[in-house]
């Protein structure tokens, strides 16, 4: 595998939006989403030469972002007070106050889920990856991912006081991404 900027960008371009949404959801209450994206990219560039296969890029990139958030979270333990300013850091452009509040509530509830359930829900529901891709990113089986999604949704519905999505299909397609990554 070639280790240069073009290869990195080639691999990154299709997942940019999913990755950015993942960072938005994960960064809530911990760090600015923009900072998390930049920091993850910088870290990925520094470690890019350790990547053995292009197939592993997804897992590689998302693991870096996830680890960075956990690292920040550990440091946050030593800070006593919750910053209320954190709750208002979602940009207002193009989205109503009502929607902004709902997103804020969703992120807050997601942060209360177990790490693996939280990541599975973000990757599948917000970033738009398929079950197969989520399994690849989380380095686990598809059935495990389905189980995480089911439990996560149930927990989330309880936290938000919302209707569960039990009846809806869990196999939400992400056809474009699937095509790109299965082609490698």
């Amino acid at each position: 595998m070639k280790v240069d900027q073009d290869t990195f960008l080639e691999l990154y371009r299709p997942v940019h939006e999913s990755f950015a949404r993942f960072c938005h959801a994960k960064a809530y209450g911990v760090v600015e989403a923009e900072d998390l994206i930049s920091e993850s990219i910088t870290c990925a560039l520094e470690r890019f030469h350790t990547l053995k296969s292009e197939k592993a890029f997804l897992s590689f990139l998302f693991s870096i972002a996830s680890n960075l958030v956990h690292k920040k979270n550990r440091r946050l333990k030593f800070k006593g007070e919750l910053s209320e300013a954190m709750e208002l850091n979602i940009p207002a452009e193009g989205i109503s106050a009502d929607s902004r509040l709902d997103v804020q509530l969703l992120y807050k509830a997601l942060a209360k889920l177990p790490k693996e359930q939280e990541e599975a829900i973000i990757l599948f529901e917000i970033s738009g990856f398929s079950i197969k891709e989520v399994a690849k990113i989380q380095s686990s089986g598809e059935s495990a991912v389905k189980q995480r999604l089911r439990r996560g949704r149930k927990h989330l519905a309880k936290l938000l006081g919302a209707d569960d999505l039990q009846k809806e299909s869990v196999t939400q397609p992400s056809s474009f991404l699937t095509l790109v990554f299965l082609s490698f």
Partner: protein
Amino acid sequence: MSKKNLQSYFAKARELPLTSDYAMVEKLVRQKGVTSVSPKKWWWNLNTLILMTTLTTTMLLAAFYWLGNPAESHYIATKIEPIAPLQFDKGPLMIDVIITEPEKEEAAPESIEMKSMPAKTWQYEPLWKEADEPIPMPEMEIVALEETQTNSNEAFEIDTSNLSENQKVIKSVLASEGVSWFELQNTRGDIRIHKSSASTIQLQALVEVKTKKKDQESAALADFQIELKKKGDRVMVESNWEDVFSCMCTSNSKKDYIKTAEGEKIKIDELNISYDIYLPDDIHLDLKNSYADIEIPDWSANLKVRLFHADLHGGSVRKLVLSNSYGKAFLGDFKEASGKLFKAELVLKNGEKLDLKANYSTLNLGQLSEVELNAFQSDAEFQAIHQKLTSNFRYGKLKVGKSVDNVNIKAFQAKLYFDVINQADVNLSYSRLEVNQLNSLNSENAFQSNIDLGAIKEFRGNLKYSPLKIEQLDNVFELTSFQGKVKIDKLSASFQNIDMTCKYTDLDIGIEAKGGYKLNLESNYASLDLPEMSQVSTESSHSRKNIQSVYDPEQKGEDLPQIAVNMFQGSLNLKNN
């Protein structure tokens, strides 16, 4: 109200505009570039070099220390033992030795023998072995200074019949005229202070000496003297073995050498002195003791005591300055007390003023007027504080039995229990406060703390993550709360003003039914459970509600008190009992 489904939340999250576009990331990648594979590092780098150098230096230093630092006894043994046989057996080999130090080698054994002879005879033929009758104790001495006087009126006797060979009694007397302070420092010996009506300071000390060589104990004991010395308005106890006294050894052995008046050098293993001091109680005491006790009767002058692994048992005192580490102090009533405690216990009866710093300690005090307490990992219990309590209390438990007029306390991870308080200003973090009866409480920035109050007239506070429970509230309640839970069991009919600004807080308030009131409520995303009231006006838009209502069972009209609530999220449960 119909529930939203999760999909709507996810859809909104997917619609959220992104803060970073691809162009920005591409720019970052172009600027930063991909790090190429770093060359494999050779194991011999700067870190290894520093580590190896430090290790080698340490090992060399250790080797030099063990090989090049022989003890004194080791040196003497090598000097005496091998020379004698070599001189007679191997002539040619001894030439060097004879040339270098021939006379010293021969003279050395003689001089050693000459010096050691009297010691040997004294050692192996002690006087008591040959004596038919018990030898009178050589230590019964009265050190009489020029200005000292003996007071024959006082009981100033000690039973010397049970004294062992290494013990003696020393007595000293000094006039107490012009003396303000008596100072005494001791280690491993009790100090007993006795009140005397005579105008003298009398000292009676039981001295016990242990030397490394048993045969030197008598000589050491005979040499040791202590006396009362006056310096200005202070009287102190001084000894001719100041080196031993000044030794700060904490172990049982002093490990000190003394030189007697005859020039004999003796190693002292242990020197224990227990004192009985007789003096008038208008002389201030400055006492220090380690690993033993101090006993004091009721004392009308000031008392300054430093304890280290020592206990103090005393009566009432006027002014106490105490430094207590690892000890226990039990005293009676006092007028004023201050000091420091470290891993110590302090038991005092009633007093006026206390200013104390306590770390890892336990305090048990009677009724006081004014207290200033700085405590860390300590437990304190007061029967009552009548006037003022000022405290910085961390990681401990504070309990005050009866009423306090004024409380100003800053607490961190502490448990505070009071019975009655008139006025309290508290700053709580991770703490618990329980008060049965309160006139007024001002809580500044309570954080993750639990406040449980009985009957209270006025409450003003700012709470974060802190639940508050009040059994009965009479007059005023002004609250700003974030993520809390507030429960007021009974809001009196005569209340004046309730003003609450709450976020993510559950409010549960029970109001006395006969009292009428006006409700001015502004809420956003809050769950409301209100009693039946006459609605003045109601505005509602989406999640926001603005309600103005009146509950007026007695038809008072305009003179009704007001409940003003501003809520974001959380819930309000208002009920008329």
